[in-house]
Symmetry: C2
Subunit: 406 residues, 2 copies
C-alpha cells in the first residue's frame, strides 16, 4: 500500500521538536554530532535492540528507560559508540541524566543512543556543555539537523514522514535513520528514531514495532555484521486525537500499515546507502511453503558476497543466487526454482525448474546496471513470500573499511 | 604435533598413480582440466560432501559409488561444475562409466567430481576422448599434474605428503586440494583428494575423515559461500602393511593425527589462497566453555567482512572482532575477553577484560603486515579451544568476482 508523504521527518507528527548540533565528539566542526528529539507530552514508547551479545552501554540504559513503556526524549551522539568502553554504563547514565536535567524532565523519560568508535571512553563533558545550545535550538524545523547529527559515513541523510487515517482520524508518522556507516576505528550501526501522534498503548506500540522490524529492518544487510549499538524506537504522542489503539483491531492494522511503510522506507534507505554501495538489491521470494523459509532464502541471497560482487559487475550470475539459497538452511526444492532479474529497464528470466535458460546477456546487463534491481525467485511450493534488501559489494567497501587509517 | 613431510602428494603412499591432462572443457590449451587418480588395488574409501541443499550431480553419483565403502579411482574435471545443469546425473554417470571402462574396473569403484561453471551442460565427449591419453599417462610422478588439473582461479597448487608410524609400521598420507577459486561464470569449490597406504576399514576411515573435516576443512572460510560441489575424500590402499585399523584404538589415534595434519595443511592452503587474499588469518579462541562455542566464535571472526577488510589494511581493529563474536550466537562473557594480535613479528595485547587497551599502533601495523597473522582470543571460562582460518577481503576479491565478464 502507498501512503501520502508529507514534508519533514520526526517533527511532522504533532507534539515533537528536534535539533542537531556539533558538540565536539567529532573533530570536524562542520559535522553535527549530537541529536535531540523532544515530545511536549508523555509518549507511549517502544524499542527493539541489537541481538549482539556485546551490547553498547546506551542500549542497557535505554532498556531501563523503557521499562514503563513511557518516554519523552531521545538523545543520540555520533562519533563514539560507548561500547566496550571504560565507564560505559556510568557515562551513558550521566548523558541521560544531563539531558533530562536540561529539559526539565525525569531521567527515566530519556532514550539514549550512541554510534561510532568502539572501545574508547565517551567524553560526556562535551555533551553536557552542548546541552543548553541544543535544548535552546529545539524546533519544528530541527528534524533535518537531527538526521544529519546521527550520520557516520552515511552519504545521505535518511528521513520520511507520512499521513494516514486511523479510525477516520488523520495521523502522522515520521522517522529518521542512519547506517550502515563506518566510524574510525569501528563498525556501523543502524539507528532509527520514529515518532507519531497516534494514540496507542505502549504494549500495542511495541507489538507493532516488533512486527514491522521483523519485516523491514531485520530484512536488510550490508555486510552481515550486526552492530553492538543497533536500535529502532518509536514515540507516540497521542496528540492526533484518534481513539486509543489498545487492541489488535482495525485501527491497529491501519496504524501498522503506516508504521511498516515508514520502517520499510528507512530500511531500504539504509541498504541503498550501504558502505560503498552502488545499487539497492531486493530479493523477492514468492511461492514459499512458509514466510520464514522465504525470509531465510531472501536474506541468504542478499547477504552473499558472491551475489553482491556479481551485481556490482551487473552480471546475471544466477548460479550464485541458487547456491546461496542452498546453504540458507531453509527448506525448498531446487528443481522447482524459477528465477528472473528485473529493474526499471525490464525483466529477464534466467532459470526455470532449477536449470539454466539461455538468455540475452546484453539485456540482462542493461537491467542490472540500474540503481535499484530485484532478484525474483518463485518456488511453486506454497503462498508465502518475503523480500529482503541489500546492496552490492564494491571496491569502495574495501577502501572504506580497509584503508581508512592509512 | 609435527610430521615428517616427504616429496609428492597423492602418489606418495604405496599403490597410487595419477595424471592430469587438458581435455578441452577449458578453452585455454595450457590449462590442465582433467585429473585422474588410480589405486592398484581395492581401497577403503570415505568422503564428506557439501551441506548445500543444491548439490551438483557428481556429488550424488559419488555417494552411490561409496555406498559400499570401496573405490579404486577418482576422476575430476575443472571448468564445469555439472550443477543445475541439463542432464546432470546422466552426464556424471556417463563420466564415471567411461573412466571405469578405460581403466578396466567396475563403474562402482570410481569417485567422480567436477568444479567450475554452474548451469551449463557438461561436455562428456571431450572427457571420453581424453581418457586413453590420461590413462596412458598414469604414473607415480603424475600427482603434480592432477593437482594442477583441478585448479580453477587458484594461484598455487596445493599438495602435501607425510610419513608417520602406525603400530610401529611406516605409513604415508598424501593429498591434493583446490579452492576457493572462481570459474566463469560461477562459484568456487573446495575439493580435497587424499590417499594413504594405511590398512583401515571403510567405517573407521569415514569416522577419521569426518572428525578431521570438522576441525580443518569446516573451519575455513573465504567468503561464506558454501559451494554446490565441495567434497573431501580419502582412499586407503592398505599396502603399508600395518595391522588393519578397525577400532578406535591407539593405532587409530596415530593415523588420525596424521590425517588431521594433512587436512589442516590443505585447509590452510585453501584459506591462504582465497580469492584475492593477501594474508592468511587464524583466529585462535582459548579458555572457552565448550569446543563448539570456541569454534563458533572463531568462525564468526574469520568470516566477518569488517574484520577481513580491517586486516587487509593491517588495522588492529579489535572492536570488529568482539562485535563478530557477539553476533556468533555462541555463549561467552564479553567482560572476560582478552585479545591479542600476533605474527612472526611479535604479539600485541589490544583488549583486556572486554575493554580496550592503549597499544603501540606502529607495532600493531608491523605485526599485521605479515602474510600469516593470528587473532588470539582468551575467554577465561573453561578449557576448550578451537582455531579457524580465513583470509583478508581485498580489492582483488571484488575485481575477480565483479569484473570477470566485463
Amino acid at each position: 500500500m502507498e501512503y501520502k508523504k508529507t514534508a519533514g521527518n520526526v517533527c511532522a507528527p504533532k507534539g515533537f521538536t528536534a535539533a542537531g548540533v556539533h558538540c565536539g565528539i567529532r573533530k570536524n566542526r562542520n559535522k553535527l554530532d549530537l541529536a535531540l528529539i523532544l515530545a511536549e507530552c508523555d509518549c507511549s514508547a517502544a524499542a527493539v535492540y541489537t541481538t549482539n551479545r556485546v551490547k553498547a552501554a546506551p542500549i542497557y540504559v535505554t532498556m531501563e528507560t523503557l521499562e514503563n513503556g513511557c518516554a519523552r526524549a531521545i538523545i543520540c551522539n555520533s562519533g563514539n559508540a560507548n561500547a566496550c568502553a571504560p565507564n560505559g554504563l556510568e557515562n551513558a547514565r550521566r548523558m541521560r541524566e544531563a539531558a533530562a536535567k536540561a529539559l526539565g524532565i525525569p531521567g527515566g523519560d530519556v532514550i539514549v543512543s550512541s554510534t561510532g568508535v568502539i572501545g574508547t571512553e565517551l567524553n560526556v563533558s562535551v555533551i553536557e556543555s552542548a546541552l543548553p545550545a541544543i535544548c535552546g535550538g529545539l524546533s519544528k524545523n530541527g528534524g533535518n539537523d537531527a538526521a544529519y547529527a546521527i550520520m557516520t559515513t552515511d552519504t545521505v541523510h535518511k528521513e520520511i514522514a507520512i499521513e494516514l487515517e486511523v479510525g477516520g482520524v488523520p495521523v502522522k508518522i515520521g522517522g529518521i535513520a542512519k547506517g550502515s556507516g563506518m566510524i574510525h576505528p569501528n563498525m556501523g550501526t543502524m539507528l532509527a528514531f520514529i515518532t507519531t501522534d497516534a494514540a496507542i498503548t505502549p504494549d500495542i506500540l511495541h507489538e507493532a514495532l516488533s512486527e514491522c522490524t521483523r519485516k523491514t529492518f531485520n530484512r536488510i544487510s550490508v555486510d552481515g555484521d550486526t552492530s553492538t549499538n543497533d536500535m529502532a524506537c518509536v514515540l507516540a504522542s497521542g496528540l492526533a486525537g484518534n481513539a486509543l489503539i489498545e487492541w489488535k483491531d482495525d485501527t491497529y492494522l491501519e496504524f501498522l500499515g503506516g508504521l511498516k511503510y515508514v520502517c520499510e522506507h528507512l530500511a531500504k534507505s539504509i541498504a541503498a546507502d550501504g558502505e560503498g554501495a552502488s545499487r539497492l538489491i531486493a530479493c523477492e521470494v514468492t511461492g514459499a511453503r512458509s514466510e520464514e523459509a522465504a525470509e531465510r532464502l531472501a536474506k541468504a541471497v542478499i547477504s552473499s558476497s558472491l551475489v553482491k560482487t556479481a551485481l556490482f559487475g551487473a552480471d546475471a550470475n544466477w548460479g550464485r543466487v541458487i547456491c546461496a539459497m542452498g546453504y540458507s538452511k531453509a527448506p525448498f526444492r531446487p528443481e522447482f526454482v524459477d528465477m528472473a532479474f528485473s529493474s526499471s529497464k525490464g525483466r529477464i528470466q534466467v532459470c526455470r525448474d532449477g536449470a539454466g535458460l539461455v538468455f540475452d546477456e546484453a539485456l540482462a546487463k542493461e537491467i542490472l546496471s540500474e540503481k535499484e534491481i530485484a532478484i525474483n525467485v518463485a518456488l511453486s511450493e506454497g503462498d508465502a513470500h518475503a523480500t529482503a534488501w541489500g546492496c552490492d559489494l564494491t571496491y569502495d567497501y574495501v577502501r572504506i573499511n580497509g584503508d581508512y587509517r592509512t
